[in-house]
């Protein structure tokens, strides 16, 4: 296992390297830079802007900029943000990452707690009304764009019913302890549901079909032939096996969640990595874009590695060496 992880890392590092070059090239190809603001203020002397460009190294040839960036990364520093003046990229990421993590964890929680049981239930009751309901729900979950859902959710749950706040991460920056936790949770619900919607549908359909597959497998027949109760057959023999493919899905879930977070965070004004990335893109903040890409690349790698490890835990047939 350790060898396997090591090998994966060895493959990954050069790939990450290539990716940073690609992203950097892409980023520097984009016209404009962080100093061409959204609204021009004629009181700012263009010469001063030019000096600032020089000072920030924006006038260096791209390869020099890249090497500079890389040497900073080598020292564990992701560089200084260009748009958020005076802030380092890692500082920015750390300030936003928790929000995206909460959001992702919560939406994953919703996915697993709603998606999996519904899928299992539908598989057990195949061809019943409940099954059709769940399947249809799954189809809709995949067909409704999540921003559309978000707008509807804000409209109904925040403004009509007043159940959940429509915006932000917490109602006051000054509360702490349990109250803060609950308050944050309260703010997580709508964005979490939005982000989780498609995943719920996907996992539900997936686990349903996996369950159906496993339910018709030989060893389930063996278990029944041993006189095991239906509950044992479904929850012990079938579920464990049906979960295995789900793990791969989970490995890639990090990436999916971050992508989804871009839109979700925008609608709910939820200051996380997705929103930060969008800001970075809109303002040509290359170090920020690269830093986030790097972070997410690493996260996805770790996610996949974790999935592989979980694989080995859940499925004894798999041993990596």
């Amino acid at each position: 296992m350790a060898k396997y992880i090591l090998r994966r890392l060895l493959i990954f590092i050069p790939m990450l390297f290539i990716v940073t070059i690609v992203v950097f090239t892409l980023a520097t190809l984009a016209p404009g830079d962080p100093l061409t603001g959204q609204q021009l203020d004629p009181t700012i002397d263009p010469a001063a802007l030019e000096e600032r460009r020089e000072a920030l190294g924006l006038n260096d040839p791209p390869p020099v900029q890249y090497i500079n960036w890389l040497s900073e990364v080598a020292t564990g520093n992701l560089g200084d943000s260009l748009y958020f003046s005076g802030r380092t990229v890692q500082d920015l990421i750390w300030s936003r990452l928790p929000n995206t993590v909460y959001l992702a964890v919560f939406s994953l929680f919703i996915t697993l707690v709603i998606g999996l049981p519904l899928g299992i239930y539908a598989a057990r009751k195949q061809y019943t009304a409940a099954d059709y309901f769940v399947t249809t729900f799954g189809f809709f979950g995949l067909a409704v764009p999540n921003f559309f859902f978000a707008l509807l959710a804000v409209y109904f749950f925040s403004f009509q019913l007043g159940w959940f706040p429509a915006q932000g991460t917490q109602s006051s920056a000054s509360i702490s302890g349990l109250a803060e936790f609950l308050d944050r949770l309260h703010h997580l619900i709508l964005p979490g549901l939005t982000l989780g919607l498609a995943s719920v549908a996907i996992y539900m359909r997936y686990i349903r079909s996996e369950m159906l597959d496993v339910l018709s497998s030989d060893f389930v027949r063996t278990a029944r032939a041993k006189g095991m109760t239906k509950g044992t057959v479904v929850y012990k023999h079938t579920l464990r096996n049906a979960t295995i493919p789900i793990i791969t899905l989970l490995g890639f879930e990090f990436g999916t969640l971050v992508s989804g977070a871009v839109v979700t965070e925008a609608v709910f004004n939820f200051p996380g990595i997705g929103q930060l990335f969008l800001t970075g893109i809109q303002n040509r903040d290359f170090p920020l874009i690269m830093g986030i890409n790097l972070l997410i690349g690493v996260t996805i790698l770790v996610g996949n590695l974790l999935a592989d490890i979980m694989y080995a835990v859940v499925d004894p047939r798999i041993r990596y060496d």
Binding site: S209, G255, V258
Partner: protein, 310 residues
């Protein structure tokens, strides 16, 4: 009797261990069989029907839409529905109904063309990778890894930013070039299994060239996964285009698209006060994606009866 419950809309496809199927007296080619199975699936037929409606609705636009979707009228912005403007007008006074209809063309074209690009790349690279294996496979797989490391939307945003002024064609090509790795991997997997099938060996034993094996034996047998994945991609891309438009990175004005129309509802005022402006495009997206997914599901079942209702 425990057949399908009343009112069920699904064909029962579970194949029990059975004596050789006796009902097949007539001679059907595999394609005809698939078509037959497909049309026996009520949901799939409903999907086809819905999809055709959307297509007809969108592409017969010149026949019944009086307004030019791009024609602005600053004197008549945010108009309510009227006999002239069935769905009112938007913030530049453009006719919402015309935009809905013509927007359908754009959304569908985006979906279809990306699907075509991705399928072609996927089939070509998947074939090469899955059939030849070896170093070429390694290279292709590492490249797909590269793409898969990054969240798709972030990559799209980065690229769209560089291309600055995006039009439909550029957007389609860009998305196509970004989306291909997924389908390539899936098809590679299909080819890997196919490669070990005995009829491939028998073709090789007969002296068939690699090209012939790929064209005559591999691709026709991978057509199921190819088509099914193509429908999935198409549905995903229609949603993606609307999401991109929503965050302002999609197809720019004045080209109408459903996503752009929804983006105009990004104000509570419009959301609550002008449902006619955003409900129709929202519903159209849902209907279109839903119908494509129904079709995709039906195709999957038709191609592979054992995978019923996954």
């Amino acid at each position: 009797m425990s057949g399908p419950s009343p009112g069920s809309t699904k064909q029962v496809n579970t194949e029990p261990p059975m004596p050789e199927a006796k009902e097949q007296k007539k001679s059907y080619s595999p394609t005809k069989l698939i078509v037959k199975r497909f049309f026996a699936n009520k949901l799939a037929v409903a999907g086809v029907f819905m999809f055709l409606l959307v297509v007809i609705f969108s592409f017969s636009a010149p026949l019944f839409v009086e307004h030019d979707p791009a024609q602005t009228n600053p004197l008549n912005t945010y108009a309510e529905p009227s006999a002239d403007h069935w769905l009112g007008t938007n913030s530049s006074g453009q006719d919402n109904f015309a935009r809905l209809v013509y927007g359908g063309q754009i959304s569908l074209q985006v979906g279809v063309f990306i699907m075509l690009i991705v399928s072609v790349i996927g089939v070509v690279l998947g074939s090469i990778s899955g059939y030849f294996g070896g170093w070429i496979d390694s290279i292709i797989m590492r490249v797909t890894d590269l793409f898969l490391i990054f969240p798709f939307l972030l990559l799209v945003l980065t690229v769209v930013t560089i291309l600055q002024n995006v039009n439909v064609a550029i957007l389609v090509i860009t998305l196509g070039l970004i989306v291909w790795p997924n389908i390539t991997r899936i098809l590679r997997g299909t080819y890997l299994t196919l490669r070990e099938r005995e009829f491939i060996y028998s073709a090789r034993a007969a002296g068939a060239t690699d090209l012939r094996i790929i064209m005559k034996h591999m691709i026709p047998n991978a057509i199921g996964p190819i088509i099914v994945n193509a429908t999935i991609i198409m549905a995903q891309m229609i949603i993606l285009e609307s999401a991109l438009s929503f965050i302002g990175f999609g197809i720019p004005a004045p080209t109408p698209s459903w996503g752009a129309m929804l983006n105009e509802a990004r104000s509570l005022n419009i959301l609550t006060g002008m449902p006619w402006a955003w409900m129709p495009p929202g519903i159209m997206i849902v209907i279109t994606v839903l119908s494509i997914n129904f079709i995709g599901d039906g195709l999957r079942d038709a191609f592979d009866p054992k995978s019923s209702r996954k």
